[in-house]
Amino acid sequence: MSKTVLKVTDLVRHYPLPKESLFAKPRYVYALNGVSFEIKEGKSFGIVGESGCGKSTLARNVMALEPTDSGSVIIQGEEVVCKSFSELRPLRQHFQMVFQDPYGSLDPHHTVGRIVAEPLAALGKISTEEKNNRVKEVLQSVGLKSTDTEKYPHEFSGGQRQRIAIARALITRPSLIVADEPVSALDVSVQAQVLNLLKDLQDSFGVTYMFISHDLAVVEYLCDEVAVMYLGSIVEKGRTEDLFKSPAHPYTKVLLDAVPKPASGRKRERIRLKGTVTGQTEQRIGCSFQDRCPMAQDRCRRETPSLKKVGPEHLAACHFSQELMKEATA
């Protein structure tokens, strides 16, 4: 059994809304409602869902970039929730993040060398010479030239900028990299290059990825395990093959069906999802997906389904998982 790099238990995060009047009851956006999962060393864990279902909040909480309401996040055996900034600083070398937008996440005033070297400050004192060597080394490992250190971000294309962002995350030799939609701003052919790079880096450095995306094809390509999120909770979790072959939650099925297929013969029969994610600001009874679910029944409005085992290493929160899975195999 390999080591667990990240263990998240019952993570809760609610954002208070501005009060409408002095005496009104405080209202909240329920962004995360008890999320639990763990990632083993050297594996990739994918998180999928629509915008507004709490994916990015989860990433920020795992990275300890904002205060968490309750629950625990243990990275390499160290609790990161409820730690002060100065306590967290030396721990940050073990977990790094790659952001979505390679145009916004690199400071345009700094040279690439300075951007990539910045996380090294968390390691304490190191000599300039070692710093330069490590920057060159890490730039080469992401496929850039070591002479690129003197350039500025605007001199690079979108794909190359994302390589710089990955280099910055890699320089402290972290065990966990949280990637929040790292390829969704890139073109198809560039996206393929960055995905291959991420895979190669995992093979050579053994890093663990927590990979957030709304593109299911990308997640299937890169991840060993997937969790599907809806309204701040995980509705289905399992090995990528199982989950894609026989989805046990209607939301997963709809998400899979919504991906356009690049093949001739254009009309497909499928269930389309109406509306958007709603109900982030209320806590209610029953299944969170009840409003938009094509198979919702009375029971779904009364009982909240819990995450149940539907197969080896495959969990789903739906009253009708068995029926759905039978349908998929038939």
Partner: protein
């Protein structure tokens, strides 16, 4: 860029040759004042980023009313009525309230719906959608594309859909052109092209795309290099530097247009090799 040229929205220092015919009139010869009467009226465009293409300091109602009052000469109150009807048409709940909202109060999908309402306002003959769904989620993308499809059918418009997502193209179009380095490298009926990917670039694009059901074992194939600098495009075939089939002839000579089945055209020197490489994959 093609979309901007069609709409006559190119930067001032651009020069155009050739012709853009809409209903038998060449748009390139029209003056700016004349183009203003065509744009938004006979031709309308949906842009990629619904976040930045709406004006943040005007209500969405006012933005939809603008073309109505300009092109159709409606009064303020009847333009307002029409704006509410349009918002309802594109599936925005409570259109009468939403009409006085500012763009920041709407979600990404709703903003894209407002963009569509804007484009529809004067029932144009041609609707140009430039990557209308790249900034959106799969489920919202699905809804927006379905909306565009039904509107196009019901209003009898023609649709020009620009996208880098091959799946979106396959499911929503009748004819496709594949562009590279400012030229068309392959064109034809959508079904023909997806059945018989021929040009090395088209094959590369298809291979680079992660597909659901592909599994994790294989590596994604990539096209080596990057898109050429449009300032000094290579002479001859623009894809020469990145093409696995390239030979001496490609560098200096403009490739011939080969006709395949039906209206399927492929611009390549090495047609036979490209056809025989289909089954085994070009970029191994």
């Amino acid at each position: 860029m093609t979309a901007l040229a069609l709409m006559g929205l190119l930067p001032e220092n651009a020069s155009t040759t050739g012709s853009v015919n809409l209903d038998g009139e060449n748009l390139l010869q029209k003056s700016e004042a004349e183009m203003c009467r065509v744009r938004g009226n006979k031709m309308a465009m949906i842009f990629q980023e619904p976040m930045t293409s709406l004006n943040p300091v005007h209500t969405v109602g006012r933005q939809i009313m603008e073309p109505l009052r300009l092109h159709k000469g409606l009064s303020k109150s009847s333009a307002m009525q029409e704006a509410i009807r349009l918002l309802d048409r594109v599936g925005i709940p409570n259109p009468a309230e939403r009409v006085s909202n500012y763009p920041h109060q709407l979600s990404g999908g709703q903003r894209q719906r407002v963009m569509i309402a804007l484009a529809l306002s004067c029932s144009p003959d041609v609707l140009i959608a430039d990557e209308p769904t790249t900034a959106l989620d799969v489920t919202i993308q699905d809804q927006i594309l379905e909306l565009i499809q039904t509107l196009v059918q019901e209003e009898g418009m023609s649709l020009v859909l620009i996208s880098h997502d091959l799946g979106v193209i396959a499911e929503n179009t009748d004819n496709v052109i594949v562009m590279y380095g400012g030229t068309v490298v392959e064109s034809g009926k959508t079904d023909h092209i997806f059945d018989q990917l021929t040009h090395p670039y088209t094959q590369g694009l298809f291979a680079a795309m992660p597909k659901v059901g592909m599994g994790r074992g294989k590596r994604l194939t990539t096209i080596p290099g990057t898109v050429p600098d449009l300032i000094n495009l290579p002479s001859g075939c623009t894809f020469t530097d990145r093409c696995p089939l390239a030979s001496d002839i490609c560098a200096g000579n403009i490739p011939p247009v080969n006709q395949m089945e039906g209206s399927h055209l492929v611009t390549c020197h090495h047609l036979q090799q490209a056809v025989s490489a289909r089954s085994k994959g070009l970029y191994e």
